[in-house]
Symmetry: C2
Subunit: 343 residues, 2 copies
Amino acid sequence: MTTSIKDVARAAGVSPATVSRALGKGPISEALRAQVLEAVRATGYRPNLAARRLRSQESGTIGLILADIGNPFFTGVARAVEAAAYEAGLRVLLCNTDEDPAREAAYLALMQEERVTGLILAPTRATAERLADAAPAMPVVLIDRPGPPGLFDSVLLDNAGASATLVDHLAAQGYRRIAGLFGQTSGTGIERAEGYRAAMARHGLTPALRFVLPQAEAAEAGLAALCQEGRPEAMIASNSLLLMGLLRSARAARFRIPADLALAGFDNEPWTGLVEPGITVIEQPLEAIGRQAMALLLERLRTPSAPVRKVMLSGRAILRGSTASARAPHNSTKTPPPSTFTL
Amino acid sequence: MTTSIKDVARAAGVSPATVSRALGKGPISEALRAQVLEAVRATGYRPNLAARRLRSQESGTIGLILADIGNPFFTGVARAVEAAAYEAGLRVLLCNTDEDPAREAAYLALMQEERVTGLILAPTRATAERLADAAPAMPVVLIDRPGPPGLFDSVLLDNAGASATLVDHLAAQGYRRIAGLFGQTSGTGIERAEGYRAAMARHGLTPALRFVLPQAEAAEAGLAALCQEGRPEAMIASNSLLLMGLLRSARAARFRIPADLALAGFDNEPWTGLVEPGITVIEQPLEAIGRQAMALLLERLRTPSAPVRKVMLSGRAILRGSTASARAPHNSTKTPPPSTFTL
DNA sequence: GATTTGAATGAAATCGTTCTCACTCGGCTT
DNA sequence: AAGCCGAGTGAGAACGATTTCATTCAAATC
């Protein structure tokens, strides 16, 4: 039995309404406010959020449904969302789906039951499609992954542009047989694959690509399959797990990097700069993505009827030794200092 | 205006009580249950969790307060906790404090207001001390970091033993000037430092250690400070961020590893096996820690008066090239296949 | 056939807040 | 001096579910 507002009211010798006013907003004399605050301290009273939410009909909470809490991309975004939410006086309910559409559905239902104010979501392809028919009752902002066109506000990386940058860079370095490994569960993988295809075509090169589960283990099989079609000179991975899998497989096969196989991918995770040679990657603006998503959500709450907005953010290419020139093979294993440029 | 249980009742031609019974447990005829379920589907009704919690006086939720969501150790534990909670029919409210005692306090207050059923907490030293006086109203299980002795159930790594293992290993490899860098915000850093001190003493070696903020940048200054006292032959870092900082600093100073400086640390993160040479680490049993914490919490809820339990789990040493023998300097840069053994 | 039993259902209380409404009581205006 | 106003306060309704209690009705018992 915890202490309720009535206990505080009794202790302070006032009515429950007065206690509520003292703690929240509302006209109250300074004397009584102090008296109530003292009673709160004395009783150790903590308001019951369930009751508050029920009565005031607002949760003060937004939902954040992510595909993989173990992926630094998502934890980075989550941090930014939480910071922005906190500044807006909102709490964040964080859920992790592990790319499982069933868990996504369960969490979407939960969000309805929690009556969250709004929702930020990184959907799998399966859920993204279902979203068109069964739209949640509250405003939704999609991040990282596209949804049904024109229905939801979204914050996305310029995936096609990012892929093109990598292809352009590899082509400029003299690579021609450039293969790609893309995640199959997310729309992001599709977009990056499309960008890759387009860029390859632009260079007059033949694309060679595979869609696989976004797991390091799947990369091994993907690499093997692509090698059967003729050994590639360079490879692009559409996320950091695949990239890591590629690196492991390449090492196991005793490929020298970049002499035997150049590597490039997405997400500037710490390890990509620590291995020898460093891996060329597209760095995503995690902080900006999270804050932009929160900003879109807040504006949508303010003006529900505003037109749907899609914000595309550019990544930043971080060039490292793993894509050093194929024409002038390096004779030192030292990684060159990384150079960066914006898309 | 969302649909409530009354709307469903009206649609099904029954009373709200019957709807409640159809959805939950309680005696109800199959015919009516089907009728109600149909009405639920038709109206798109989702129960209001705030109302349910208020009335039933239980949140069905446990709180999980972590120091750093960006640290793979904590995300690993969080996964396990969530999985175990799900199996027990509980939800998880995940909060990230970024090692900030003020945010910890705020989240502790929030947990009270949410009336969570129980709490799993990785406290900073500041909060761990305060916990003795201001104990939360619900059961608490501490993980990763010690609290006031004998007051709370806890799941900890055998930190002293793990440090000793590293020191023993380094000493066996012929290193004598072994320095240590430990995080200052957590009790874990203290325990690992104590284990290091004891092991050094046992080997008749002079300890040289620093406590720093658990950030990669702080490691640089720490290394410099320790080098001034005479250059160490080997270094131990008490967490992966510090370890990464050490590696960066060592490379910047052009130290060869392990010839100029051997390195060892905690947490078997992917990058520790990818860099050349691989880094020797203590791997923590993330899954076991999370599940054990959840198990302790559930038992505490069942029998509140049971004696306080402290579970210590052993880590597993993963030996890699970064601690190769100092006596027989390796002439190949290839990492030896990692060997592992349990403490 | 009357009475007991028990399952199925509905009416209404309840959880802890917030908020509307009515009321009181000084200080102003005219 | 009578009326008005506005600030401060309390009484009580309401939020949406669960749960207790009473009621109904059919089957089972004697």
